[in-house]
C-alpha cells in the first residue's frame, strides 16, 4: 500500500486506472511519487509532463500541475515551461516510442541544453497503446505486430543516446527493482541539469504475448534473471553481456544548467531593470 503522503499525490477518483492489470507503468508511477515526496516537493510546484502512449497517461492520475501533450513532443513543451518558470520541478514521463522515435529530436536537444528536467523513459520495448507495433527499442529478433517475422532494425540504447547527447545524469533500472527506480529518480530530480532515468518496463499485453512473456510475473522474472549491475557488467565480455540489461548510474556530472545560463544572460544585458 502506498504511504499516505504518496496517496495525497493521486487523483484517486480516476482509479481503477486505464492500464492493463499488471502493466509495468504503475510501478514506475509509484516510484516517481515516492521520489517526489522524499525530495520534499510540493504538488503546486511540480509539473508532470507527457506525450502520448499508455505511459503518457500517467499525468492524469497525479494531482499536481499536469500536461499531457502530443506524441513525442512533451520535452519541447516542458522546455518552455521550465524556461518560463525555473522554480518548477518538472518530471517528463515518456514511452520508448514517444522518446526515441517521434520525439528523438526533442530528446537529444533537451540533453544537449542540459535543462533542469527529469525525463523518466518507460521502456517496454513496444508501442503499447496502439497495439504492439515495433519501437526503436524493440530488440533484434523480437516480434511485434509490425515486425511479424522478428525485428531487423537495430535498437537504440536510451542511456547511451542520452550520454552522447549531453545529459548530466543518466541511469537505468528495471521495474523489478522498485527501490532502485525510486533512488535514481530522486537523484535525477536532485541533479540541476537534464536527467534521464530509463526504467525497463513491461507490457505483457502487447510485447509479452508475442515474445514468451505472457504474464506480468514472466516479465518480472525475466528482468530479475537478465539484469546486471554496472560494476559487474564492466568485467563481463560483450558476448556474455548480449541480451542483458545493464542497470546503474552511467553519468553523474556537473555542467551549467540551461535556465541558469539564461538568467546570467539576462543579468549580462541588464534585463528586468
Amino acid at each position: 500500500m502506498p504511504r499516505p503522503e504518496v496517496l495525497d499525490w493521486l487523483r484517486k477518483r480516476f482509479f481503477p486506472h486505464m492500464w492493463c492489470p499488471g502493466c509495468g507503468h504503475g510501478i514506475i508511477m509509484h516510484a516517481i511519487l515516492r521520489a517526489l515526496v522524499d525530495s520534499g516537493k510540493k504538488r503546486e510546484e511540480t509539473v508532470i509532463a507527457s506525450g502520448i502512449g499508455c505511459s503518457s497517461r500517467m499525468p492524469g492520475y497525479i494531482d499536481s500541475c499536469t500536461i499531457h501533450t502530443t506524441h513525442g513532443r512533451s520535452l519541447a513543451f516542458a522546455t518552455g515551461i521550465k524556461l518560463a518558470n525555473p522554480e518548477l520541478t518538472i518530471v517528463d514521463v515518456m514511452g520508448d516510442g514517444d522518446c526515441t522515435a517521434i520525439g528523438g529530436n526533442h530528446f537529444i536537444h533537451a540533453c544537449r541544453r542540459n535543462i533542469g528536467i527529469t525525463a523518466v523513459v518507460m521502456n517496454n520495448n513496444i508501442y503499447g497503446m496502439t497495439g504492439g507495433q515495433a519501437s526503436p527499442t524493440t530488440p533484434l529478433g523480437a516480434r511485434a505486430t509490425t515486425a511479424p517475422y522478428g525485428a531487423i532494425d537495430p535498437p537504440f540504447d536510451v542511456c547511451k543516446l542520452a550520454q552522447g547527447a549531453g545529459a548530466t545524469y543518466v541511469a537505468r533500472a528495471t521495474i523489478a527493482q522498485p527501490v532502485l527506480c525510486e533512488q535514481y529518480i530522486k537523484n535525477g530530480i536532485a541533479n540541476k541539469g537534464f536527467s534521464v532515468v530509463e526504467i525497463i518496463s513491461s507490457c505483457h499485453t502487447q510485447f509479452g504475448r508475442k515474445n514468451n512473456r505472457r504474464t506480468p510475473v514472466d516479465n518480472l522474472n525475466y528482468f530479475k534473471n537478465n539484469s546486471v549491475p554496472l560494476a559487474k557488467a564492466q568485467s563481463m565480455s560483450p558476448v556474455d553481456l548480449e541480451g542483458k540489461i545493464v542497470t546503474g548510474e552511467f553519468v553523474k556530472r556537473e555542467a551549467p544548467e540551461y535556465t541558469e545560463l539564461y538568467r546570467s544572460l539576462v543579468e549580462r544585458v541588464g534585463g528586468g531593470k
Binding site: E44, R73, F77, I81, V266
Partner: protein
C-alpha cells in the same frame, strides 16, 4: 510619447508583440520570417523575457505553449513549411485553450516552394490546417504600421478568448520598410488573460464564467493544480467519452469566437457607397488593389475597395450587403483561389465574381488590376 520608426514588417510585428506584453518567444529560423525571431532574441532578455531557439518548428510552438502555460504572453513565428509543421500543436492549443500568437509570413508553396517570394497560399491552412473543428481568429495586415497594430490586437484576442490567434503576413510585407508611428504605450489597450478569482480547491479550469462564457486561466506555478490535455475533456480538464460533455466542449470552442464575432471582425473600405464593382483584396495585394481602384476612380469608374483585416472570422455580412448593391466583385489573390471561396459563400450569389490569380512569386501590377476593373465595369 509617440515616436516614428522606419521598420520592416517583421520588425514591426516583433515590437508590436513586445508592446502587447509578449515576453516569451520559441521558434525556429525560416525565411522570410527570421527577423521576427532575431528581434525577439535581442530584445526579450532586456525585458527579462524568454527567448529560445528550438530544434524545429514543432518544438518552437510547443515551447511557446509551455511559456503560455507558465503565465507568459507567448509567440512563435514561421513561414509555409514551418506553418505546416506547427499544425498538430496548434490544434493542442485550440483544444487545451492556451493563448498564443502564431505569425505566418507567407511565401510560395507547396513544399519549400519560393522561400524569398510572396504568396497568399496559406490562408485556408490558417482556417483548416489542423485536424478537427475550432474557430479561427486570423489577421492579415497590409502595411508595416498595421503589422504593429494587429500584433497587439492578436495578443489581446488570444488572451481574451484563451486560444491561438494567427497573423497572416507575407514576404513583401515582412521585408518592406515603411514609416511606423509608434504610439505611446500608455495609450494602448492591452488585455491580460482572466485569472481565477476562486481558491485553488474551487478552480475548474474549463468552466466558463456565466457573464461572458469564457473560462479564466491559471498558470503552472501560481498555486493552482490542473490538468492540460489534447484529449477531449470536461470542464475539469479530464478526458471524457460522455457525449454531452464532448458536445459542450466542442461547441464552446466554436461559440467563444462566434458569439463575439462582431467585436472581432475588422475590415476597411473605400469608395464603396456608389460602387458597381468592388475589388476585394487582403495583405500586400490590397495595396496594389487600392492603387488600381483609385486610378479607376480618376477615370470616372464607380469602383470600390474592400479589405478584410480579419480573414477569420471573415466580414461576410458586411461584404454581402455591399456586394449586393455593387453586383460585381473582383478578387485578386496570390494563389489559385482560396479566399474567393469564402467570399462566394459570403455573398450568396448576389454578386458576380471575377477571380484573379497570380502564382509566379510576384505581386500584381496595379495596371493588371486596373485593366480587369475596366473590363468588368464596362
Amino acid at each position: 510619447m509617440t515616436r516614428v520608426e522606419f521598420w520592416q514588417g517583421n520588425v514591426s510585428v516583433a515590437y508590436g508583440a513586445i508592446a502587447a506584453g509578449c515576453r516569451f518567444f520559441g521558434g525556429y529560423p525560416i525565411t522570410p520570417s527570421s527577423e521576427i525571431a532575431e528581434v525577439m532574441a535581442e530584445e526579450l532578455p532586456v525585458y527579462n523575457g524568454r527567448f529560445i531557439q528550438m530544434e524545429d518548428e514543432i518544438a518552437g510552438i510547443a515551447a511557446t505553449i509551455g511559456g503560455a502555460v507558465a503565465g507568459y504572453k507567448s509567440m512563435t513565428a514561421t513561414s509555409g513549411p514551418g506553418f505546416s509543421l506547427k499544425q498538430e500543436n496548434l490544434g493542442l492549443a485550440y483544444m487545451a485553450e492556451i493563448p498564443i500568437v502564431v505569425v505566418d509570413v507567407m511565401r510560395g508553396g507547396p513544399s519549400t516552394g519560393l522561400p524569398t517570394s510572396i504568396a497568399q497560399q496559406d490562408v485556408m491552412q490558417a482556417r483548416w490546417g489542423t485536424h478537427g473543428d475550432h474557430a479561427t481568429i486570423a489577421y492579415a495586415p497590409s502595411s508595416v504600421q498595421e503589422c504593429y497594430e494587429v500584433t497587439i490586437k492578436a495578443f489581446n484576442m488570444a488572451e481574451r478568448f484563451r486560444q491561438p490567434v494567427l497573423i497572416m503576413s507575407d514576404e513583401v510585407l515582412g521585408h518592406m520598410r515603411e514609416k511606423v508611428i509608434v504610439p505611446d504605450n500608455e495609450t494602448l489597450t492591452i488585455v491580460d488573460r482572466k485569472r481565477p478569482s476562486c481558491s485553488p480547491e474551487e478552480f475548474i479550469p474549463y468552466r466558463p464564467d456565466p457573464e461572458d462564457n469564457l473560462p479564466p486561466m491559471a498558470s503552472f506555478g501560481d498555486g493552482y493544480r490542473w490538468h492540460i490535455t489534447g484529449l477531449t475533456h470536461n470542464e475539469w480538464g479530464f478526458p471524457t467519452n460522455c457525449p454531452e460533455e464532448i458536445a459542450k466542449k466542442t461547441a464552446r470552442l466554436m461559440d467563444k469566437v462566434n458569439a463575439y464575432r462582431d467585436e472581432i471582425v475588422e475590415y476597411e473600405t473605400e469608395n464603396v457607397e456608389d460602387a458597381d464593382v468592388i475589388v476585394v483584396a487582403y495583405g500586400s495585394v490590397a495595396r496594389t488593389a487600392l492603387s488600381a481602384v483609385r486610378q479607376a476612380r480618376d477615370k470616372g469608374l464607380k469602383v470600390g475597395y474592400f479589405r478584410p483585416v480579419t480573414l477569420w472570422p471573415f466580414p461576410d455580412r458586411e461584404l454581402e450587403s455591399l456586394a449586393e448593391k455593387a453586383g460585381r466583385l473582383i478578387v485578386p489573390e496570390l494563389n489559385f483561389g482560396q479566399m474567393v471561396h469564402e467570399i462566394e459563400r459570403a455573398v450568396h450569389g448576389k454578386a458576380a465574381m471575377v477571380q484573379m490569380s497570380l502564382v509566379n512569386g510576384e505581386l500584381f501590377q496595379p495596371s493588371e488590376i486596373l485593366e480587369k476593373i475596366e473590363e468588368v465595369a464596362r
